[in-house]
């Protein structure tokens, strides 16, 4: 029992530190920036954790990822936290009851969550204010950011699979 708890703490610490590291990297000026666009790293990690660990752990990591994004982002505090937490809980439940944990599904989940988030921002921050040329925001910033994020998603999914598999082999955690 003690060994199990110890292993569980170790696993959560690895996820937590990875989340923090990815957040630092995603907000570092100039790092992984292509034509002014940067990928979102914390969301694919939270989605992958939700797929592997279920709704409770997934929801909590979704919440943590959302709080981090709210801290550095321009949107009102709470939007990312609410969305990512809710999405990760749903993803955890979907994988438990209806879908499989696979690389393709991690891409679909990440794409859908990010798409909802970007459309939400696009509507409330641009469409509602009637800015000119707002399609440029969608085409030149939001869509490339989603594509870049999807490019790194398999790598983060693979990482979470490895961590999950390692602790499963070690103590069925």
């Amino acid at each position: 029992m003690i060994r199990e708890t110890k292993l569980r703490i170790q696993k959560m610490s690895i996820y937590g530190l990875t989340l923090l590291l990815l957040y630092i990297l995603q907000t570092t000026p100039g790092f992984l920036t292509f034509w002014g666009i940067k990928p979102l790293l914390v969301l694919p990690l939270a989605v992958s954790i939700a797929m592997m660990e279920g709704e409770l752990v997934g929801g909590l990591f979704g919440l943590a990822a959302g709080i981090l994004c709210d801290t550095s982002g321009i949107t009102i505090f709470g939007i990312n936290s609410l969305l990512y937490m809710g999405a990760c809980v749903c993803i955890g439940l979907l994988v438990i009851y209806y879908m499989q944990a696979s690389r393709l599904n991690s891409l679909i989940f990440t794409g859908v969550v990010l798409g909802i988030r970007e459309l939400f921002e696009f509507f409330f921050y641009y469409v509602m204010w009637g800015y000119e040329d707002m399609r440029l925001i969608l085409l030149k910033h939001m869509l490339p950011m989603i594509v870049l994020t999807l490019v790194v998603t398999p790598l983060l999914y693979w990482f979470v699979c490895q961590v999950h598999g390692y602790f499963r082999r070690k103590g069925n955690i």
């Binding site: 957040y23 409770l56 040329d133 950011m145």
Partner: protein, 310 residues
């Protein structure tokens, strides 16, 4: 699935969601101030971000020498040509002044504006979800930074503080359409409102709107802040006119302005925490319909009253 909705886990997430929604409502009502959660997270992450930002900056500038050699050469040629034109034609006094000011470092700025109080800050993060080159700096309310404080470099205006935490602040740049700055042309004295424009922002530029149709403004004119609203000091260099065109309604003209500061790559900034005339129109701002973000209405009103006075 149905057992999940009767479980304690479901109730826990509902409770968290309610708390988050309350925080969201509070954040939307209290503009410019960070929440407790943001302050706690920033307290942990800003020191790490400082380290990674400085490492990234060093590595980036090392590779930039080689990766951007063509760009640097081209820029060098352009500068040479500019120097030749300046020498031969003796351009206007304002242009010389702007060139001088662009060479002045932070101490020079202090001499130039004795009424200004500055806080030096470093850019520590640029979020993937941030638009218009907005960024976060490593100074907050503990360092004397306040909501709406202007942010500059030694080259010119960058933007203003849009949110303040204890140890960090978020900066909205002049490329953002939500930001409006009262400004005038240093040569022709034409007033206007500088604001971001999505299309122009793609090229790192912004627009000076509501320029009189009779204006003789031309390319390379220097645009400076009007200082009429109390939100920005007077005569801060904003940038240089790139082109000017008549609006579709034919009533006014819009000038494309290249900011003097390299907003997309800026790494160190100065926050002006105090200046003469600061907040003189804040009452007008507070009573504005659209809140603090819509400075444009205020600046126009202030400019109108200025013009009426003249």
């Amino acid at each position: 699935m149905s057992e999940f909705f009767q479980s304690k886990i479901f109730k826990l997430f509902v409770a968290i969601a309610v708390i988050l929604f309350a925080l969201l409502l509070r954040a939307s009502m209290v503009q410019g101030t960070s929440t407790v959660a943001t302050n706690v997270v920033s307290f942990l992450t800003v020191p790490l971000q400082k380290v990674t930002a400085s490492i990234s900056g060093s590595v980036g500038s090392f590779f930039d020498r080689y990766l951007n050699a063509d760009e640097v050469y081209e820029e060098n040629q352009q500068l040479k040509e500019q120097i030749r034109v300046l020498t031969e034609n003796q351009v206007e006094l304002e242009q010389y002044r702007w060139e001088n000011e662009s060479l002045k470092k932070f101490m020079g700025l202090k001499e130039e504006h004795p009424d200004h109080e500055y806080v030096m800050a470093s850019v520590v993060s640029r979020d993937p979800n941030s638009r218009f080159s907005s960024f976060a700096i490593d100074k907050g309310s503990l360092d004397g930074v306040e909501y709406l404080d202007p942010v500059i470099t030694d080259d010119g205006l960058v933007g203003r503080v849009s949110e303040v935490g204890l140890t960090f602040s978020k900066v909205t740049t002049i490329l953002d359409p939500a930001l409006h700055v009262g400004c005038y042309n240093a040569r022709t004295r034409d007033m206007g409102t500088l604001t971001g424009n999505i299309e122009a922002a793609e090229q790192g530029m912004c627009a000076m709107e509501l320029v009189s149709r009779d204006s003789t403004a031309a390319k390379d004119d220097i645009i400076v802040t009007a200082g009429s609203t109390g939100l920005f000091p007077k005569d801060l260099v904003i940038g240089r006119v790139v082109s000017i065109a008549t609006e579709s309604d034919g009533k006014s003209m819009t000038a494309l302005v290249q900011p003097a500061a390299d907003i997309e790559k800026v790494t160190n900034v100065l926050v002006i925490t105090s200046f003469r005339g600061q907040g003189s129109s804040m009452d007008a701002l507070d009573s504005g319909e659209d809140g603090a973000e819509d400075e444009g209405n205020v600046s126009e009103a202030a400019e109108a009253s200025d013009n009426a006075g003249e």
